[in-house]
């Protein structure tokens, strides 16, 4: 059962990560079933019988070592496939930054999330920034850069429907990206222990169409200027 069975895919790379998990699952699953099958088979086949002595096999000779050596080389092949697949996904998600349509600042602290949205001018650190607590608004289909900051201890910014997770480190600004592909309201969770309120650090991400988002922005700006 893949991850998508438990939790929906709402970002451009969620399916890539789920497929990688499938690939790893199939490859290691094959070896798991095979080795357990051989293992239990041998236990049954070679149960002690009166008068039957065990065979004397050193395992040091070439034709004997083959029985371990060949599976061993096949495991290596599987390993290489997994490494290549894992690195490809990783490079896309974490190592490369596609150009940003919007930028949002995410600030973690004991025990709340603050979000700074760029506002109508599309720029951070200007007068029309929209600040929210524990609720983040994004437009569907837009590439977002997020800038993570912590005011105190380590936190971790996790959006399960995006398959996105990144630790937040005090003293650093960590930049990452996502592109939402589906409308909806989902969890943002802190996934790094951050003190006694770690279990009380949920936030919500609201994924909206451009029209809905602009309306929200306008309403927020109106409230702020009033």
């Amino acid at each position: 059962m893949g991850i998508e069975h438990y939790i929906e895919q709402a970002s451009s790379y969620a399916a890539d990560i789920d497929n990688l998990i499938w690939l790893v699952g199939v490859l290691v699953g094959f070896w798991f079933v095979l080795i357990e099958f051989v293992f239990f088979g041998l236990i049954v086949a070679y149960r002690r019988r009166p008068g039957v002595k065990a065979q004397y096999i050193t395992g040091e000779e070439k034709h004997q070592k083959r029985w371990v050596g060949i599976p061993h080389e096949l495991v290596l092949v599987c390993d290489v496939v997994i490494i290549i697949a894992a690195v490809r996904v990783w490079v896309d998600v974490k190592q490369t930054l596609p150009p940003a349509g919007e930028t949002v600042r995410v600030i973690a602290q004991q025990w709340a999330w603050s979000f700074v949205h760029a506002g109508p001018d599309g720029k951070l650190d200007t007068a029309d920034d929209i600040k929210t607590v524990d609720e983040m608004h994004v437009k569907v289909g837009t590439v977002y850069h997020f800038k993570l900051e912590s005011r105190d201890v380590l936190h971790s910014f996790s959006v399960p429907v995006f398959r996105l997770k990144q630790d937040v480190i005090p003293g650093r600004e960590i930049t990452g990206w996502f592109k939402a592909t589906k409308l909806g309201i989902h969890d943002i969770q802190c996934t790094e222990i951050c003190g006694i309120g770690h279990g009380l650090m949920p936030a919500r991400i609201v994924i909206q169409t451009k029209g809905e988002y602009d309306a929200w922005t306008a309403a927020q700006t109106a409230t702020a200027s009033r």
């Binding site: 065979q55 894992a86 105190d152």
Partner: protein
């Protein structure tokens, strides 16, 4: 070297009772001879028993902690029998100390120190460790470390609750963790424990290299001794940076330095590197002795020579060396340069090569055997069957791309419990049930042993298979109540959490059967004789239990440890000390 020679044939009941009394820290009513015999002894067997009973007692505490927080997981906010309502602070402290105890105060003392102390001189055919007083000092420091850890739960503010990995700044500043004294005592306890094992490790390596029976060549050393030696070397090579790291953490906590404080030029990630540079080899530090125990048992009860002894040895060295180059897979998403993840993905996934080889060799050893499913053999086979699950699920986490989702979820937790429970529980029971006759001179009850085995194995899978599923569903770790996360507070996940908790209660219940069997058999078990399993290694030459000095006459060694079912012999075993 050792204390003056004791009576060689003291009643074994006396011995067992004494060891037990010590484990419970209850020795006030005994007379002086008891103190010199059991408390300040330099005898490797007594020190091994001290480590074993202290470790198992700590293990009981660690298991109780897991019961409390699992109950909170399944029934959040409800009264937990024998504890009460769990607060968030208590919850954090319970999970932190559960992890700390199970790794540092159960797995290490029992697997390395207890079995290492008891077995190394006996299996090498010598009378004691090379440095018996260092050995005693090692245990005393270890006991002190355990007392400091226990004390840390009862100070104002309560026990440390920043997870067993103790990442700063949370662990470094009282204003964040709210446990000013608990967190400092925790660091001190861990550092003391490291000192104890450094001293012990020097002793193990020196003894194995210098005190072998005449005729025992390097490749005649039983695998479990090799494994404990390699583990000790790994520990010594990896722990230095963490001891330095622990002191820096202690200074940050107590005298206001800023090693991990970014405001003053420090870096919290530094701790993670120091911790995991030790922490990952540490996995193999406890794995290798467990593998060694399993190797001894599988060969004896399949009456087989170990398949490719040298290959096993080389894979152990290979694993050990490679284990120094994988640590950052714990930090893929921790803020390290993302390009580094590619290197560590490769090394991490490749460590499956020596480990898979090791498992293949054990499976191959069964081929052509004459397998008897005794209780120790069931534990040893159970180790392999279960550890493979831990091994293959590790591949998901070592694959950087997949770890983005799995990091810090219950999938990780279930994965490493499928490695650590086979190591610290299954292999420990394998070792205790196998060497119990040597330790106490009597056999354990086999029926009770098998009931305990099946109860434990089935319940163990009942705990952690559901937790793989909750992890896939997104449950992340160290949350004391999922009700606050709408995507995690659903019935499907709640039922799985509840199932895991019930399985844990069942698992704990079955441990009482072991405890009953253990103490009942001390007095009522069948007398074991020197070599009840018809095994080859030298510890079975000594009387059961071995007296002070171990052997009436120190044995010579004529061959390797696994010459079972040799075609030139009528008997299906060939003890190492028997002349050709």
């Amino acid at each position: 070297m050792a204390t003056p020679a004791q009576e060689h044939s003291h009643a074994h009941d006396d011995h067992a009772h004494g060891a037990d009394g010590h484990g419970a820290h209850d020795h006030g009513h005994h007379e002086m001879s008891f103190w010199s015999k059991y408390v300040f002894s330099t005898d490797h067997k007594v020190i091994g028993m001290q480590y074993m009973f202290t470790g198992l007692a700590m293990g009981i505490i660690g298991a109780f902690f897991s019961y409390v927080f699992r109950m909170q997981m399944a029934y959040p906010g409800h009264h937990v029998p024998f504890f009460g309502v769990v607060s968030a602070a208590e919850y954090n402290s319970l999970i932190t100390n559960h992890g700390t105890i199970m790794i540092f105060w159960l797995a290490m003392p029992v697997l390395i120190a207890a079995f290492g102390n008891f077995l190394i001189p006996l299996m090498l055919g010598c009378d004691d460790m090379v440095f018996p007083r260092l050995n005693r000092l090692s245990y005393q420091i270890f006991l002190l470390s355990a007392l400091v850890l226990i004390a840390s739960w009862f100070v104002p503010g309560g026990g440390f609750g920043g997870a067993w990995t103790a990442y700063p700044p949370l662990s470094a500043k009282a204003q964040y963790n709210l446990t000013p004294m608990g967190s400092s005592l925790w660091v001190i306890a861990v550092a003391l424990e490291f000192v104890a094992f450094l001293i012990g490790g020097i002793n193990f390596v020196t003894t194995a290299m210098n005190s072998r029976a005449p005729g025992m060549r390097m490749f005649d050393i039983p695998m479990v001794v090799w494994m404990i030696v390699i583990a000790s070397i790994l520990f010594m090579a990896s722990v230095g940076p963490l001891i330095a790291g622990a002191f820096m953490l202690l200074f940050d906590q107590t005298i206001g330095t800023g090693f991990y404080d970014p405001v003053r030029g420090g870096d919290p990630i530094l701790w993670q590197h120091l911790f995991w540079f030790f922490g990952h080899p540490e996995v193999y530090v406890v794995l290798l002795p467990a593998v060694g125990i399993v190797a001894e048992i599988i060969t004896v009860f399949s009456r087989k020579k170990m398949f490719a002894y040298k290959t096993v040895l080389y894979t152990a060295f290979g694993t050990g060396i490679l284990s120094f180059f994988v640590w950052a897979h714990h930090q893929f998403i921790a803020g390290i340069d993302p390009r580094m993840a590619n290197v560590f993905t490769a090394t991490t996934v490749l460590i499956s090569i020596p480990i898979a080889e090791m498992m293949f060799v054990f499976v191959a050893t069964l081929y052509g055997g004459s397998i008897e499913l005794t209780t120790p053999m069931l534990w040893a086979l159970g180790f392999i069957a279960e550890f493979i699950i831990g091994g293959v699920t590790g591949i998901f986490l070592g694959s950087s791309g997949a770890d983005i989702y799995f990091h810090d979820t219950y999938f990780v937790l279930a994965h490493f419990h499928y490695t650590f429970v086979p190591i610290a529980v299954i292999a420990v029971f394998a070792g205790i049930t196998y060497w119990y006759p040597k330790m106490f001179g009597r056999m354990l009850n086999d029926t009770l042993g098998k009931i305990h085995y099946w109860g434990t194995i089935i319940a163990f899978n009942g705990i952690f298979i559901p937790l793989f599923l909750t992890g896939m569903g997104g449950d992340h770790r160290r949350i004391y109540n999922y009700d606050n996360f709408p995507e995690l507070a659903n019935d499907r996940l709640n039922h799985l959490r509840e199932f895991a908790t019930i399985s844990l209660v069942v698992l704990i219940f079955f441990q009482f059967i072991f405890i009953v069997n253990f103490f009942w058999s001390l007095k009522n078990g069948k007398k074991a004789g020197n070599n009840p399993w018809n095994a080859n290694t030298l510890e079975w030459v000594a009387p059961s239990p071995p007296p002070h000095g171990n052997f009436a006459e120190l044995p010579n060694c004529y061959r390797g440890p696994y010459e079972y079912s040799h075609p030139d012999r009528e008997q299906d075993f060939w003890p190492q000390n028997e002349p050709a």
